[in-house]
């Protein structure tokens, strides 16, 4: 088995164009794999990626002291119980699918199993640096030569930030968010994605609308923004058309709406406290992808992240 896996080189046509990223865990996938299920938070969570027919990638993570050997034994034991009627279940440990050199600083263990209809190649690790334990497996039909694909996907798996930034990626939207910000709300609907992050009273929000032509119709972008945000009560805001940008864009500017705003603002000024009360952001229409994007933030003076966040989005 080991020799067979080693012999399996990555086929030239196997390109991992997709990217899935959630709570700091990222993996490269084939382009037609999409997020299928989500659960948990940054401390412990679950992620499933599906292709058109079946689940293809499962990732679980948690923090804390965990004996990966025991976790893997328990997982494979449960797997055996679930399919105990099947005489075809073959489980292998220490398959060396992914080299330790590809995932430095992690105690890595690879495994594989093969059932009546499905097979999987997976790995478990505990990172010495961040203490996060990750267990992941790539699934496929029994007949498929899964090892090269599984190796490529699992080798691309990462659970570390990039210079203080986590990549969040789903349904073709990839955005970098500062690591300290925690996801507090998400709306994943067809044609509408909304991710909201918080760090204390600082807020960061990334939204994507599909079918932009239908949403805009004959209206200007600024007009559309005004209509879209007309019911907002959390901020006082204004939108201005932004000239000279790659796409038609509008800048958002304003202040947080709160009780006794003006006196509180004056007190903060006297005490030289930089309170997160500034509202700013950008909305743009990407015609090639037929989508509208919005990045907005409530931040303190001189502490804005939204320009970098907006810059990290590759809209087309």
């Amino acid at each position: 088995m080991r020799a067979a896996i080693r012999k399996n080189k990555l086929p030239a046509d196997l390109e991992l164009e997709g990217l899935v990223g959630w709570q700091g865990v990222t993996a490269r996938t084939p382009a037609d794999w999409n997020l299928g299920a989500l659960g948990g938070d940054v401390r412990s969570g679950y992620l499933r990626v599906d292709d058109e027919h079946m689940p293809r990638l499962e990732i679980k993570w948690s923090y804390g002291k965990v004996d990966t050997n025991k976790v893997l034994t328990r997982y494979l034991g449960q797997l055996g119980k679930k399919t105990r009627r099947s005489s075809q279940m073959v489980v292998q440990r220490d398959t060396h699918l992914v080299s330790n050199r590809l995932q430095p600083g992690r105690s890595l263990q690879c495994f594989s199993w093969q059932g009546d209809r499905q097979q999987a190649h997976g790995l478990i690790w505990r990172c010495q640096g961040c203490q996060r334990t990750v267990i992941a497996q790539v699934l496929g039909p029994r007949q498929q030569d899964l090892a090269p694909l599984a190796r490529a996907v699992l080798a691309s798996l990462n659970d570390h930030d990039r210079e203080g930034w986590y990549t969040w990626s789903l349904y073709g939207l990839a955005v970098d968010i500062p690591k300290e910000y925690e996801l507090t709300r998400q709306q994943l609907m067809s044609g509408y994605l909304d991710l909201q992050f918080e760090r204390g009273k600082r807020r960061l929000r990334v939204t994507r609308w599909g079918m932009a032509q239908l949403a805009l119709r004959d209206r200007s972008l600024v007009h559309w923004v005004e209509v879209e945000h007309v019911k907002r009560r959390d901020v006082h805001w204004q939108a201005h058309a932004l000239e000279g940008d790659e796409h038609p864009a509008a800048l958002l500017a304003g202040e947080r709406r709160r009780p006794l705003h003006w006196p509180r603002k004056q007190v903060a000024r006297l005490l030289r406290v930089r309170a997160p009360i500034i509202f700013s952001g950008k909305v743009w229409h990407c015609a090639p992808s037929n989508r509208l994007f919005s990045v907005e933030e409530i931040h303190a003076a001189g502490e804005e992240h939204w320009p970098q966040v907006a810059g990290s989005i590759r809209c087309h």
Partner: protein
């Protein structure tokens, strides 16, 4: 036992994707200049329906208005395109991710189905043993 309700047929995702949505042929529809589509649903003409409509004041007809995207899909519910074809069409035309298109389209078609505006033709699965029988015959 006799009074037990007939359960709704349950389809797997794969079966649902290979189903052919078909418009209700008794309905009239018309594309409007705005790109929307108006479907006219007439009141049933049976005696009991006429009597009930007198009691509960049911209008002779009502209109269901579909937006541009809905109208586009409605026109493709001709019994010649599968749900999977419609997903591909929608993803291509509106530049949606395939998963996004699938979720919104299946929800939309389910709603149309609940209102009796479309039905679904599902390819018949071979009965258990049919294949085995055919094989043994072949031998």
């Amino acid at each position: 036992m006799l009074l037990r309700r007939k359960g709704k047929p349950r389809f797997s995702r794969e079966t649902a994707l290979t189903a052919y949505p078909v418009r209700n042929r008794s309905l009239e529809y018309q594309r409007l200049e705005s790109g929307e589509l108006a479907i006219t649903v007439r009141r049933r003409s049976e005696l009991w329906a006429r009597l009930l409509s007198k009691v509960f004041v049911v209008p002779r007809q009502r209109q269901v208005l579909l937006d541009e995207v809905g109208a586009d899909i409605w026109e493709l519910c001709d019994g010649e395109h599968t749900v999977r074809d419609l997903v591909a069409h929608m993803a291509r035309k509106y530049q949606l991710n395939r998963k996004e298109a699938e979720v919104s389209l299946t929800t939309y078609l389910r709603n149309l189905g609940k209102r009796g505006l479309v039905g679904f033709a599902v390819p018949a699965a071979p009965k258990e043993g049919e294949l085995a029988h055919a094989k043994s015959k072949h031998r």
